[in-house]
């Protein structure tokens, strides 16, 4: 994997050049945010639910090993096999071995961000296993060989025409179809035979209940239920942070999840998996992949509360105008920007800067992750770890020095009183140049406030000068 920092700004600039895609993307996600608001207004206890969800998650994370072991114990009683994967490679190996033991050559799966994290598809495909995504958006992304651009609506950056083009190539449908229903039907026709003949099915898991040894999968297309139940072998790949202690805790999360994500009261399917079906096998593969380390990070461990609803993406004005792919990472948007650096600090060092720190993400987060504060804190960490580009670092260093010396600062201001002047010019002009690319510069003024005050409040000004 390349360590070169993701150039979010450049990718975003490219995204912005395509007006129809930009407009659709911004409006579609804003609409989801609006629908989320509508749902919130219908529940007077919304803020209490958020507080409770946050509390349950923090409690669980603080006792994660205990609850994981309790789940394992109870799941085994339910006839579920439980596996532990330290990282993506171990996860892929475990899944590969389970499939091999069943001589499974075809795997159908529902959406799972963890399998993206583990880069599982190429691993299995190299070993002769055909992997088919059954979620519509995820399938579109698979056929187009792209990462999901959003954790809930993975192909939201695409227009109907893009999907028609992709399906025409793979499903031999008419590339000029513009009716989404026809496209969805094409996917259904293509997917059903694959589903019916698959050797194994894979799902993720939205919530894992320790006291019952069961887990819950929430989807809207029913594809997870098909993936889990049509084949006799069901493998669920789940991040270790997905635990809740009790079945009674679930209500809080189920009420928040889809309302936050899509602005619908609940997902079409909320399926509790309690054990293998008759004659079948069920495996849960728990994936750590950096989560334990994150749990130990004082400022960032609460990012593990995330229930992957995508509300922070929908509300993020930067995300809506740059597209998920511009983040160059499995997780995009605000939540991505605070967890991606835990996977690779250098590569994702630019992402905490892809934010205005406006804080809307924090406000919509159903589990109250202080996302924008973590973005701020990540910037400090990245600078301490020397992950800021040299020029910017130097400019901040010089600016900081200048701001501590009023006389020099004043000289710099007055020397450039009619220009853009608070920083030494050579630095300023190289670095501040982009300001004017899509914007006019501020207008020059005849007199700074400082000069005006000295001229118009002579008594007070001289008093201050005397006291210096």
């Amino acid at each position: 994997m390349s360590n070169r920092p993701v150039n979010h700004a450049r990718a975003a600039e490219k995204f912005l050049e395509d007006a129809p895609h930009l407009q659709f993307h911004d409006e579609r996600l804003w609409d989801m945010r609006q629908k989320r608001d509508d749902q919130m207004h219908m529940l007077p206890e919304w803020q209490e639910l958020r507080t409770e969800a946050s509390r349950i998650k923090e409690h669980t994370l603080a006792r994660l090993p205990e609850y994981l072991e309790r789940f394992e114990e109870n799941a085994k009683k339910n006839g579920i096999h439980v596996h532990w994967a330290r990282d993506g490679a171990e996860h892929n190996r475990i899944v590969g071995e389970i499939l091999q033991a069943h001589n499974a050559r075809s795997l159908i799966k529902s959406k799972s961000m963890v399998t993206e994290e583990c880069d599982m598809r190429p691993y299995l495909e190299k070993r002769g296993v055909t992997v088919t995504e059954t979620d519509l958006g995820e399938r579109i992304q698979q056929l187009d060989d792209q990462l999901p651009s959003h954790i809930v609506v993975p192909a939201v950056h695409k227009l109907t025409s893009d999907v028609a083009r992709i399906f025409a190539k793979d499903y031999k449908t008419d590339p000029d179809i513009r009716d989404p229903h026809l496209l969805a039907e094409a996917q259904r026709q293509a997917a059903r035979p694959v589903i019916l003949h698959a050797d194994a099915g894979m799902t993720g898991g939205n919530f894992v209940v320790a006291e019952t040894g069961t887990f819950v999968v929430c989807t809207n297309e029913g594809n997870a239920d098909l993936s889990a139940t049509v084949p006799n072998l069901h493998i669920a790949t789940i991040g270790i942070e997905r635990l809740v202690p009790r079945m009674a805790d679930l209500g809080v999360f189920i009420r928040l999840l889809s309302r936050s994500a899509l602005g619908s009261p609940i997902t079409q399917y909320t399926t509790h998996f309690r054990g293998p079906q008759k004659g079948g096998e069920m495996h849960v593969v728990f994936v750590d992949n950096g989560r334990s380390a994150r749990l130990g990070m004082e400022d960032f461990w609460t990012s593990l509360k995330c229930i992957r609803c995508g509300a922070c993406m929908n509300t993020c004005p930067v995300y809506r105008r740059s597209g998920g792919l511009s983040y160059g990472a499995v997780y995009s948007g605000p939540i991505g920007a605070i967890i991606d650096p835990t996977f690779n600090e250098r590569k994702y060092s630019t992402l905490p800067y892809a934010s205005t720190l406006n804080g809307s993400c924090t406000n919509v987060c159903p589990v109250k992750i202080n996302i924008h504060e973590q973005l701020y804190k990540w910037r400090r960490v990245l600078v301490q770890h020397h992950e800021m580009p040299f020029v910017k670092r130097e400019i901040m260093h010089m600016a900081g020095k200048l701001m501590g010396q009023p006389k020099l600062y004043r000289a710099a201001i007055s020397a450039t009183e009619t220009a853009l002047g608070t920083l030494p010019r050579f630095a300023l002009y190289n670095w501040l140049n982009p300001w004017g690319k899509h914007r006019e510069n501020p207008h020059p003024v005849k007199q700074t406030f400082h000069a005006w005050y000295k001229a118009n409040r002579t008594d007070k000004a001289s008093k201050t000068e005397d006291s210096r």
Binding site: G359, P406, A461
Partner: protein
């Protein structure tokens, strides 16, 4: 009560009239205000960039300038947010704590401390769209936030509605960020400018002749975007309207 006036660097250099209006307004309200001449910056640009140690000199100077005042007032939400919430590049002495606890953004100060009931001199016969900067909105909480579904309130609106003749236009996305974001405006200039032009257009389409804000940094950015896109909308700091500016 002795008030120290802090005028942020970009207001000093580009929007002095906002600074002048702030001073005159406080004086009209009978306040004893002084502007320490040795001031520069609150340290926010360095702090927001993650270069916190580089904010130390600015923060130390800020405290030297303002520790002797009872209250520190500034016509800027984001600078107030920095001083109040992130001003930790220097050791937290009693003096530093005093400064941090007694720093107010102008609207807050007028609304919460002075509890101003009227601005008899103010009249503004125009339709305005209010831009709440994210600093004032989500950090200082001078208005209710759409994401929380809380009971609507707005300190800047409470003040502006006391101005004769003023009319309001409400944009479709009233508390969407305008994209300034400090150094973000340069490092992510394409997204920043797009957010800016979207914001300005939203106000314009709602019928605003002016965008009024308590933050000139957002305004500097929005004005640049509006001028480039040819959107005929004007900008004014809330202090100017409250101080009696007619246009």
């Amino acid at each position: 009560m002795k008030i120290g006036l802090f005028i942020p660097c970009y207001i000093d250099a580009f929007y002095p009239q906002a600074g002048i209006a702030t001073l005159e307004l406080l004086e009209k309200l009978g306040q004893d205000v002084e502007y320490p001449l040795d001031q520069t910056c609150c340290g926010q640009p360095m702090g927001n960039s993650g270069c916190n140690s580089d904010a130390a000199a600015a923060e130390a100077l800020f405290v030297r300038n303002f520790a002797r005042f009872d209250k520190i007032v500034m016509p800027s939400g984001s600078c107030t947010h920095h001083v109040r919430d992130n001003f930790d590049a220097i050791p937290q002495t009693d003096e530093v704590r005093h400064v941090r606890e007694n720093t107010y953004e102008l609207v807050e100060f007028l609304h919460d401390i002075l509890k101003v009931e009227e601005f008899p001199w103010a009249e503004f016969n125009h339709t305005v769209g209010l831009h709440n900067s994210c600093g004032t909105l989500r950090s200082l909480r001078t208005a209710s936030m759409s994401e929380l579904g809380e009971k609507p309130f707005s300190k800047p609106m409470d003040l502006l509605t006391k101005v004769k003749g003023i009319r309001f236009a409400t944009p479709k996305r009233p508390d969407e960020c305008c994209g300034f974001g400090g150094t973000f405006s340069v490092t992510e200039e394409a997204v920043s400018a797009r957010m800016g032009v979207d914001k300005v257009r939203d106000h314009y389409q709602a019928g605003a002749e002016y965008i009024v804000s308590a933050d000139s940094s957002c305004v500097m950015h929005q004005q640049g975007c509006a001028e480039r896109a040819g959107i005929p909308i004007r900008f004014i700091h809330i202090a100017q309207i409250l101080n009696g500016a007619r246009s």
